[in-house]
Symmetry: C2
Subunit: 491 residues, 2 copies
């Protein structure tokens, strides 16, 4: 199976598209730009959700649910938001179909036209802040720390599975605070939560930073982000957290009485990650043989494949496998025993390689006799023969080791692909040939940012939080600059 | 708080609406017919989801995700399905908005009209079977046992929070099988899973049965259902499971090669429960003081309220409370300590009563001295003084007892409200005055069913699975009948 996959070096984009479909993660549907997330892909997303949800709750958030539809007029209330979001979207104009007059099909019933069009939410700030107005009277009602798991729709012309789809799944946190300081602290906290999740569960190293004004969320005063680097040298924005100031509170008239009895506007944040993370996960670790999954997010961490002739051998191997499985499960390890007689062991090996199962145990008649098993690692594609008595401990150790190995490999690749440049010639050369992040001085103007984008397709991914103060000259304009920012071509 | 709630005996419907809003479960949004599920209400729904999801997975199902939008033409492919679902629905006709020419607002961009309208899914059989065609080639690919947690939209003219909303949350299982027998077994299994969940977690007794032809799901050959009875004597359909035969396989051309190499159409089921269950839960147990929750689904099972004067007393009580909380949590019990200084104990008592928290512990200075605590039950509204040493065991025992008590109370009420009648006079009398289920003979015709509905507003809720064979005369037409069916007015 893996053998027929396009190689990354041949066509990275084609490799990705093929991998997503052939590893049973997702596929295109009959609806333009909308994907079907298949059970195996969804199982990974569920593991992501479970961890993130736990982290959100540990930081004091609760889940809630707000309407899918947003009245058109809500978007007009926050000036910058409308330009960012209300344009390419799905518009509901009617609420009934009827049988066609010729009786051959169904058509829109023109008498059932909505007075005001409804927009399928591209993000929920407006409908949520319209609701918060009813929830907030006094400082006692603050903070509101709410998250929503939902589907959203942004009409995209060019779509790619997980990376850019018209409909996608995400979570959106929307919080309301009494003070500016508290709101900023919340936005920063959630950026750290996202980074923690990306690094410790996805094994994807990220750079924390701030977006420039032109890359900010529509309606935000500050956008915090985490940026990852894919194997083709392109950056991917993996999560954003926005400090929204009082913009939405003013647009939707959300005020509270302070302890002193004064009326003040509420301070806001919003933050989100989406099924796009699946794209980041896939592209960071996978290889020409297929998917590679970090153990912390693998729906199946270990698969046991019996190698047998006849029912008697299978019975003997199954008996042994059951004991091993019970021991592994007692340690919280997810294990599958694939005793299907419809497929041969070689086929199964290829299948689990393609699907990125971190560890594979093969057991045959000879293994039973010698008290051994063959253990194969997906990340290094190495095999070793292990005494059955050591199997459980070895598996436990290797799962940790694989998780670390994937992270370290990704960190090394990422670090090798942050290049400091000091001239625009160098800048273009690196962006064009080496790829990755380019660390360069920038004069802080939108004009320069736009010009660089026009000339190189590279955008400012972020102003890293840990950027050191350093006097320099803008790589394009030569004007004064005090710190370097990171440029890259991006997904 | 509870004191200002409308009484059930005064106006049951008003009582329900007030309760849902005041217990912080849900509220109407600015979008017609769409609700906001508030954090406390959503926490209950999350507990329902978690249990159901576990039960689905234990019966071999996996989750997946299919598109929100369905092309209009898909609905026309299954003849009976289109009449049932494609009528009152949200229709997406455009994919872009633009600034109005007068610059004052945004309007639909008429140049961005979709070639084919998209329907916001009212249910997903069509899009899913369009997908299954690609997933199924041979018997090896069957069964497909897939579930989806999703939002769906059915344009309702008269809406009520949780019971009937334009958008609601649900799960929809869609399975594909090689044989008719296996598909029927699946549909029956899921009805039993739903009944198990309703009775053991929601503490809501249900009657399992079959729908009559006219009450069947559009496109089903058989609809299994569970029917519950509310305190106002009206029935509520709590879940349905459909045997769809080969209808969708034929409409979407889903065939498989049998072991013998023949091409056959695949057999289907679908099954779902929705946020409507929240309505059933609320209406089955709650009283004039507010919500009553079964411990198995209560987000907070026990609340501890300190009664104190000054920081010193609070510190002493907190110390004791922390020990109790740790002991309770070690037993898997969810406990909250409400030491907010913004509200008085009496206010908190009323709040947790309104919100249906099963057990409340109050501890004051005198309790500390005497080593006691006051324990109050939400279901019986009784209080007792307990030695602190017995508290954890008592709480554990009472949570079980409350769960059982609520179920038994509901079973008694339900059983008292199943009335056998043998004449249409009696039928009308019971439906009009006593309410509940009427068990009566029916001649099996749609005409009689319609006529009875027209005259009494009662519908056939189900043909109970355990209905005994019994010769009789139809209560309306006097024609022969072999078993009794259950009629009721319904939500």
């Amino acid at each position: 199976m893996g053998k027929n996959l396009t190689k990354r070096s041949e066509d990275y984009s084609k490799w990705y598209n093929e991998l997503v479909v052939r590893a049973d993660l997702a596929e295109n549907s009959g609806v333009r730009g909308c994907m079907v997330i298949k059970p195996y892909g969804f199982a990974i997303w569920e593991k992501m959700q479970a961890e993130l949800d736990r982290m959100f709750k540990e930081t004091g958030h609760q889940n809630a649910y707000f309407p899918l539809f947003i009245p058109k007029s809500y978007f007009s209330k926050e000036a910058s938001h409308v330009d960012g979001f209300a344009k390419e979207c799905a518009v509901v104009t009617h609420y009934r179909l009827k049988n066609d007059d010729d009786g051959k099909g169904i058509v829109v019933d023109e008498t059932a036209k909505l007075e005001e069009e409804l927009i399928v939410r591209p993000t929920s700030e407006t409908i949520i802040w319209d609701t918060y107005r009813k929830w907030v009277q006094s400082y006692r009602d603050l903070p509101i720390l709410v998250n929503q798991w939902a589907n959203v729709v942004r009409w995209e012309m060019r779509t790619r599975l997980f990376l850019r789809t018209a409909e996608f799944l995400w979570q959106e946190g929307h919080t309301a605070h009494a003070t500016k300081r508290e709101a900023i602290a919340e936005a920063e906290q959630m950026m750290h939560v996202y980074a923690d999740f990306a690094e410790n569960f996805m094994a994807v190293p990220v750079i924390k930073g701030l977006k420039t004004e032109s890359e900010r969320f529509a309606g935000a005063l500050e956008t915090y982000c985490i940026e990852a680097l894919m194997q083709d040298g392109k950056a991917l924005q993996a999560g954003t957290s926005h400090f929204l100031g009082q913009n939405f509170a003013k647009a939707f008239d959300v005020k509270f009485a302070t302890k002193e009895g004064k009326q003040e506007y509420v301070w806001a944040t919003s933050w989100g990650v989406s099924t796009r993370l699946m794209g980041a996960l896939i592209m960071t670790h996978s290889d020409d043989n297929g998917l590679v999954l970090p153990p912390n997010l693998a729906p199946i961490q270990v698969v046991i494949v019996p190698i047998y002739k006849g029912q008697e051998q299978l019975m003997a191997i199954s008996e042994k496998a059951k004991i091993i499985m019970a021991d592994l499960r007692a340690k919280g390890i997810t294990v599958k025993f694939d005793d299907r007689d419809t497929h041969k062991p070689g086929w199964k090996f290829a299948e689990y390689e393609l699907k990125g199962v971190p560890l594979r145990i093969a057991m045959g008649q000879r293994d039973l006799e010698s008290g051994t098993a063959e253990l194969a690692r997906r990340d290094t594609l190495t095999k070793e023969t292990i005494a059955q008595d050591d199997l459980v401990d070895t598996v436990e150790r290797l799962l940790k080791e694989i998780q670390e190995n994937l992270y370290n490999k990704a960190v090394n690749y990422r670090n090798e692909h942050i290049t400091e440049v000091n001239s625009f010639e160098e800048f273009k050369e690196v962006i064009e040939n080496k790829g990755g992040f380019v660390s360069a001085h920038w004069d802080g103007t939108i004009e320069t940012e736009d010009k660089i984008k026009e000339l190189t397709k590279a955008t400012i991914r972020c102003i890293p939080l840990d950027a050191k103060e350093e006097a320099g000259k803008c790589v394009y304009s030569g004007k004064e600059s005090t710190k370097r920012v990171l440029f890259a071509k991006a997904y």
